[in-house]
Symmetry: C2
Subunit: 380 residues, 2 copies
Amino acid sequence: MAEIEPFHVMDLLARARALEATGRDIVHMEIGEPDFITPAPIREAAKQALDAGKTHYTPAMGLPALREAISDFYQTEYGISIAPERIIVTPGASGALLLALGVLVNPGEQVLMTDPGYPCNRHFVRLLEAEAVGVPVGPESDYQLTRALLEQHWTADTTAVLLASPSNPTGTVVSMDNLVSMHSVAAAHGGRLIVDEIYHGLIYDGTVDSALGVSDELFVINSFSKYFCMTGWRLGWLVAPVDYVREADKLAQNIFLAAPTISQHAALAAFAPESREILSRYRDDFRQRRDFLLSALRELGFDIPVTPAGAFYLYADCTRFTNDSYAFALDVLAKAGVAITPGRDFGAYQSECHLRFAYTTSLARLEEGVARLATYLRST
Amino acid sequence: MAEIEPFHVMDLLARARALEATGRDIVHMEIGEPDFITPAPIREAAKQALDAGKTHYTPAMGLPALREAISDFYQTEYGISIAPERIIVTPGASGALLLALGVLVNPGEQVLMTDPGYPCNRHFVRLLEAEAVGVPVGPESDYQLTRALLEQHWTADTTAVLLASPSNPTGTVVSMDNLVSMHSVAAAHGGRLIVDEIYHGLIYDGTVDSALGVSDELFVINSFSKYFCMTGWRLGWLVAPVDYVREADKLAQNIFLAAPTISQHAALAAFAPESREILSRYRDDFRQRRDFLLSALRELGFDIPVTPAGAFYLYADCTRFTNDSYAFALDVLAKAGVAITPGRDFGAYQSECHLRFAYTTSLARLEEGVARLATYLRST
């Protein structure tokens, strides 16, 4: 436990709440979940399931109808054929990651991942007594791993590589070419890729294919939380290579029994045209926010060298203002009333000169936040 | 993974489903969840939360109002004062157990538990690279651990003891005197008790106090699944000693973020008089079923030496009929159309001459099952 760090942003959030309790207005740019509530058709489906008394456990791998709906989604959205048998519905992407790591990784083995990256990932690996190896990445590789980085960091103990596309905190995607290359490196070493696609619906420039198009031999994690705006429902899924499904099922039976039933029934409505239309409008809003915030922060002097294609984060180099981004974030909160996440929540590599801005609040609030930041920066 | 066994009952269940698909009628006495659907007032509360758009994450430790409601429940139900700060709402009891073990146990350490016992418990311990030590227990100690057994099995590596009261598969409870004794043994060795009280509302003879009355220094796991008939909602809670709360919060943030939001809002209605009244009727039904099945099985020749005070299971010695309870269960399913759980799902100690009968189906169906068993036993 001692090696599992808390999120530093939680301390910051506690301070923000304390300020709000005194009447201060805080612009929240630290929150990692969509501000939109779940589309009404999905909530209606949940209510129908409640009326129908659907309150018992589902099978450990999920409602068969939902696994089929996800399979159909891969067909219609990406043009790829994924058998429902390979799809395991989980309590959030957390559950999916735990299953993937649980069936792949033994104690003492190594999992490569980006630094910066989503902090829970390395903590999960640690929980299983394996070793998370953070590989420093920067704008030169769009903050993603590459074939060369894998070759450089692979050891006899490496068994898996965890990628995120789009990534948290950088919002960048892994190109298909890069995925193909990395998959072949991993395969050559007898290792596997686990690709986190939980921000996958939230792509603002062009389209992005699923890593599942590269090979049937990699793991993909996804979630209803982000694009589908279903955070509180705790529902995600894992697509596993066929040989691992039985093990994953066994582990699921033991560690969480099944994902929440009502959430699963609700999610059946997430793919319906009326839901997709609402989600599409939400995505347009996110795109508009990204475009505004990206250019506004660059104008203020933050360095964002790679335009993030997706998710709802901007990962900004704040070297021009500070070499202690945690202290900077606390000062911005106290003086300007703007909450942002310090880089240290995402790793060690150059984290003290980085900040993550989330655009999970309205354009008007983002404008207010930027105005406050401008005033703050002028006065310091 | 190789050391984590699947539930054997799952194979049996698959066979049962296959038989049902051919038109056979199967009496299910293997299912570990209440057949009752969640009381309407709880479902209504969920619908109101959906209408109000409560679809975002809650804090990692749960809705403050729910933590307070659980605290109030301890006051009114057990007359004990448990600060809401010590109560952590989790995704099912599984989440609570993972938190308790995660903050208490290091790799290589030992956790004592009963054999027979709930199989997931030892798998959780194994997942954390610790060692689950099954202590054989029989009717002489009501299938529970005792002070003497703890003294006998405690080693330098032992750090925790996992108790369940009422227990799955035996339905027996740990007496308050025994709890006090075991707590003092554990404390003297610098260890801790974790007490699983997930079947706690389902007590048919007298009343049973919570282990929390013994000391503030032990861990208690509970759940909305069983007594509150909310299995599919995936909602439980952990009461931790005050010194462990911060660690448990940190771990919760990392491994599951938060319990399902709608479930938490629904659970706020679980303590209301109108829900409790329905649950009380359900409990009366369970009592009636237990009384019927206990005497019927004894009459058939199954040995159930300890009358189980709670849960919805009977753990029966079937030595008179077989010394291979797994083969017996498969044969009973095939020939009599009755599904029961073989002892091997609960451990190694005398498991081949034990079966678990669950009374999670109606009295009429239990009567049908018993009639079929009688015919089966006469013909073999």
